[in-house]
Symmetry: none
Subunit: 217 residues, 4 copies
């Protein structure tokens, strides 16, 4: 390692940190600071009282700095959702890949869904309550992000169907809507009840109910 290798490495590092992300957005430590600040401020003040200046203050940057990293306020929210929901689904995916059966995979999905939101209550408040107050345009983009999650569910459902664990005539769209709608409703209720009971322990009965249905055998 000599002077040249150092320079090359510097350039490499520099070009890395200067690299824009997939969305062509400027990145850097402040990008993450702002996202985290946004989660906190929205969770504490509610969507409609989360002024840009509050977020900037919480992030420890000037108001104007926000606009070096985000197009506008809405862009903060979309990015927040993309970042957080992206990781959210990625983590579930990782865990699922370690399981063998579709049954286990579904359980992991449910448990991880609950676990991640239970571990980050401000995020849970933001995703379950505050972000839903956003305008239709933002909600469309949120739906885009959710597609990745729905695709993951499809993978599990397909595998389960092939292994004979799930019904052969399972309607994927309905099944996805049942799983997502149920999990979402359960988490929303938990958040609205001030998170005062254990969410993760609901994973097991929830799994049984989704798999076995309401009916006795």
């Amino acid at each position: 390692m000599n002077e040249w290798s150092f320079i090359l490495m510097s350039n490499l590092i520099k070009s890395c940190s200067e690299r824009k992300n997939a969305m062509g957005k400027k990145r850097g430590p402040k990008y993450d600071q702002i996202i985290e600040a946004a989660v906190k401020v929205i969770a504490e003040n509610g969507y409609h009282h989360a002024q840009v200046s509050k977020i900037a203050k919480e992030a420890g940057v000037a108001d104007g700095t926000i606009y070096l990293y985000f197009k506008n306020k809405e862009d903060i929210l979309i990015s927040l959702f993309e970042e957080k929901m992206g990781r959210f689904v990625d983590k579930i995916q990782e865990q699922i890949e370690g399981s063998l059966t579709a049954k286990d995979k579904l359980f992991i999905l449910i448990e991880m869904h609950f676990k991640q939101l239970a571990e980050n209550r401000p995020l849970a408040i933001v995703t379950q309550l505050e972000l839903r107050q956003s305008n239709p345009e933002l909600r469309w983009k949120i739906n885009e992000v959710l597609k990745k999650y729905l695709d993951l569910m499809d993978t599990v459902l397909t595998e389960g169907k092939e292994s004979g664990y799930f019904s052969e005539d399972l309607d994927f769209r309905l099944a996805r809507q049942m799983i997502f709608g149920t999990l979402d409703e359960v988490v929303t209720n938990w958040v609205m009840k001030d998170c005062k009971y254990d969410l993760v322990s609901l994973a097991k009965p929830m799994h049984q109910l989704l798999v076995g249905g309401l009916c006795s055998r």
Copy 2:
């Protein structure tokens, strides 16, 4: 019938329309006009562009008149939801009472849920999309209104459990959340897809899925 009888009748009608309803609210023909106007205006313009003045114009009253019937804008929305959701649940209840088994009752509940929203798309848009943009406080009150619906589900679930049709160890809260969360998600997806497929025909497979679960037997 003479002049006096007319005056008496007027007073009678007047005292009637002046009578407050159960919620202590003033009623009268304008009350309903305003509610209907609110549904129309919100469905057409979206929650955030549904100004009080627009609702007043649509209802054919002055802006100030709104405040003779409703405490504030939020009160219009809560009342709207109370009125509409009240009838919504009442109709489901009526139909359910005509059925014998818990299985049938659940099916009727699902079908009626879909049917009523499919029949009134503006209302569906308002309840599934627009009203969710309201602040958490309003959403709390909306949840209050939903209790009647959840109680109805409980009745069906209890009966089904007693008749042995539903699992003996069914967790009512989870079951309710699964049913409501699923139906809600299905309707929301239908609205977001511009209502371009038949919602009511999903009742049968939906019923089977909820009752039998994802699992093959």
Copy 3:
């Protein structure tokens, strides 16, 4: 005079006060208050420091009231110019009609131009300095208003040419531009010199110069 005549008069008065002006704009005493306030505030603070709230305060109305009478801030300025310049030209026209010869008419035009601006210094400051800082869109509309003035000049020039007082081969466009450009420059210099000399007394030499040119005979 009876009940009916009273009602008829009421309606008449009502329809009068409700009448919008030619531009379809709401009128009323507040309309004029706001225009006057705008002239004063712009003259005192300069165009770029003339906040809507300052104008509202000066006019003795709430900020929001401004927007019942004007579309936006720019609309105040356009209206201001239309009103003031409208009267400005009208008054010149009136005076001109009382004169016999084209020579006199031109003199009256010059004198009235100077006189009206000398009598209303805040207005002079606004028209000569502040309003020129406005954006191109506003400046186009200002030009529209000026057309009436230019047409008036044309009338005088035509008459003068016909009577043989003005050159037969006079280029109207150039003549108009010379007259307007000169008067405008003279007034602007007067305003920039803090109006500290008598403007109106310049009318006579100005007239001679425009009519006779620089050349000795």
Copy 4:
């Protein structure tokens, strides 16, 4: 005066221009780049959309570099005007010196005024339209720059008066204002009409009109 004295003088001028200019301003190639960039950016985007960062980009320098050469944004504009108007007047002066009579000198002045602006339309747009949107303070300084031009006019007027070509009792201030106001108005109209007619050919009739006045002889 020989070759050497020319070289010495060149060096003197050069070292002068590389150090500070008469106004105590730093000079260098970037100084001119920035001025040229400012003309282009203002002409293309308008005064209010000519951000410092745009000018810097066009000049191929960093935003901060601007402030090594100019005190602030306003200083760019003043300098722009000083530079361009300085050359503008110098060129007219040069040409005038070649003429014999006051009559010819005035004609040259008019023709050169039109010619130079017709040859550089971006500059014409900037001086006639965009720079007038600046605040009165800047406009004061612009007037300072114009003094040199007015002085030149005075020279011509004095000479003409002495030679008996211009009236003996000519008011210089009014005459200057008439000449400048007229030329300025004519050029402004030409710019606002998108420069779609020939400006220079107006010099002759314009000259006749200014010299001979509106009146027939």
